[in-house]
């Protein structure tokens, strides 16, 4: 079980790192789908499968919402605003730094929240860290929503071990779906002359 959990932590590292590096929205949504599979697995270590499946279903619904909306948005509208250096090497380098920080910090976090397991903590911290990094590098609606969904999925993987209320699960699902809907709204919002 532990080895599988570590593999899943590795998977979320690859997917969240991929989200940071990739610039193809289809690939990004695919990676996000895989990421939710990982989050589902990490959550299922503390929740019953039927309840953990909420994370997977909600995540995939959010992806579907974003994907359908993104299909109808012109390609040129993306990639206009850049806050930081955007080179691929730079992003890989910063992702590497965040990963090293997470690996260093995970045992200390395990001391604060004992009984969750290092793989779950590492996986969720990787998601939160790389999601935050993603948010720090962009103000493009699509990428901001991907970053927020990544941060929240990391938090949810961790929080599932602490809180097993159905209401909380439902409310967090609402937040995830709401974020996807807001993302869809922001993607379609534009000045009248920009309309297709």
């Amino acid at each position: 079980m532990t080895i599988t959990a570590w593999i899943v932590s590795g998977l979320v590292l690859v997917t969240s790192g991929g989200l940071l590096i990739s610039r193809d929205w289809r690939l990004e949504l695919g990676l996000l789908g895989l990421q939710y599979l990982g989050v589902f697995w990490l959550t299922s270590l503390h929740w019953p499968i039927s309840m953990a499946a909420i994370k997977l279903v909600t995540g995939w619904m959010a992806i579907a919402t974003l994907g359908i909306t993104r299909l109808n948005v012109k390609e040129a509208e993306e990639g206009t605003k850049q806050l930081w250096p955007q080179g691929r090497l730079f992003r890989i380098f910063t992702a590497g730094i965040v990963t090293v920080i997470v690996i260093t910090a995970a045992p200390s976090v395990e001391e604060i929240i004992p009984g969750i397991g290092l793989p779950v903590i590492s996986g969720s911290l990787i998601l939160m860290g790389l999601g935050m990094l993603h948010l720090g590098m962009t103000v493009q609606p699509f990428r901001v929503i991907l970053g927020l969904l990544t941060v929240l999925s990391g938090f949810e993987a961790l929080y599932a071990a602490l809180e097993s209320s159905i209401l909380v699960a439902a409310m967090l699902s609402t937040v995830n779906l709401g974020l996807a809907l807001v993302g869809a709204y922001l993607l379609t919002a534009h000045k009248p002359e920009e309309s297709v």
């Binding site: 209401l167 909380v168 409310m171 609402t174 709401g178 807001v182 919002a189 534009h190």
Partner: protein
Amino acid sequence: MSAPLLWIILPAALAIPALLIHNRRILSIFGGSLAVLLGLIALILPIDQALQVGSFSFKIAPDIEILGRRLILTPADGSLLAIFYGLVAVWLFGGEVTGTAHRLTPLGLMVVALLVASIAVEPFLYAAILIEIAVLLAVPLLLPLNQAPGPGVMRFLIYQTLGMPFILFAGWLLAGVESSPGDLALAVQSAIILGLGFAFLLAMFPLYIWLPMLADEVSPYALGFLFWVLPTITIIFGMGFLDRYSWLRTSAQLSQTLSLGGLLMVITGGLWSAFQRHLSRQMAYAVIAETGFSLLAFNLSPEKAVDAVFLLIIPRSLALLVWAMSLTQLKEQVESLRFSTVQGLARKHPVTTAGLILAHLSVAGFPLLAGFPIRLALWEGLASQSLGVAFWFLVGVLGLLTGATRTLAVLVMAPQGSGWEIHERWGPGIMIGIGVISLFLLGIFPQILRPVMANLPAMFEHLGK
């Protein structure tokens, strides 16, 4: 009939058909009347008390159960509901003249219902999720579909969303502190995480970068509404934490942190306002300073602190209402709200200009205006504790006053020989006029708020006792 059904579910449910109404006037009257009705019911009918009307007897039950958790509005919440819905009504009535009713009425009602739910939910920690859902609804409220989202909107979404995980996690840690009060390290960790959560939600120094950016991008009226409603509920939510955890309430470090955070917000908000050349951004900096005043109010003696925080609510709402309405009127006349484009507008829009300046002065705590009595009480209370804090408080207030004076100078700076050409619209002019009169009334007779404010501290079991 239960209280959560009446003050949470009913407005949220009625907001859905309101989405289908396209007539601005009908929407505004519908939303405003509903809020007035809910406010009056909260004022007149006590919660959880049997009432007899002729042969008909009824009682508003305090709670409702959803998925094993409760939404509960106690009799002590009645005053807050009355004030809250009363102020919301004024904002919604103003939606028609500012052209925002089609978004403000349905989405505003939903946001308000969710924020009231955040006060009512038990365990109270879940309020963080409800506030987050309200923030998500605020995005279409701020940004119409025909406007591209700017960095301000995106940062608003990011910063407000990041607050939720911190608060939920801190709540879990605080439960641990409750069970092992001797664990100092855990207490410090939970306080830091909780502080970070509230710093994000309240846009505390230095996490308020998005506020002026957002003010630059969206409708001043919708923004003013959110600038009032979100921090107000977040502060009440924060007071819930202080009420619940005695070690947090009595912590000297927390008191110092709040004092420092509040002071930094007052100083920076005031100083940036003094040097700002954009009218909307000036409102944003004033909002930053306002939040700073609320944080500083926690530094007063326990029995005064709760009163002071509540006394800030109505003047804040009223000043922001007049300010946002005036800005909306000016924005209709000019391309941008930069100083260079609004020069001399006072000659064409005297009432709007008066509203703008007086609202700004009220936030700065100018004598005879609504903000003055509470600023004075706050300043006096802080001075009795530390003269240094009182001095820096004055610096922030002077910054706000300088901003107001510069705005006034720019607005009256018409070319020599140009006469008065009044282009004021009746509807907004009357509303701004009533707002200005109310600012003076609250400034001259602050005691008129006493009857409704007196019961508010009863919302908390320990805080302020």
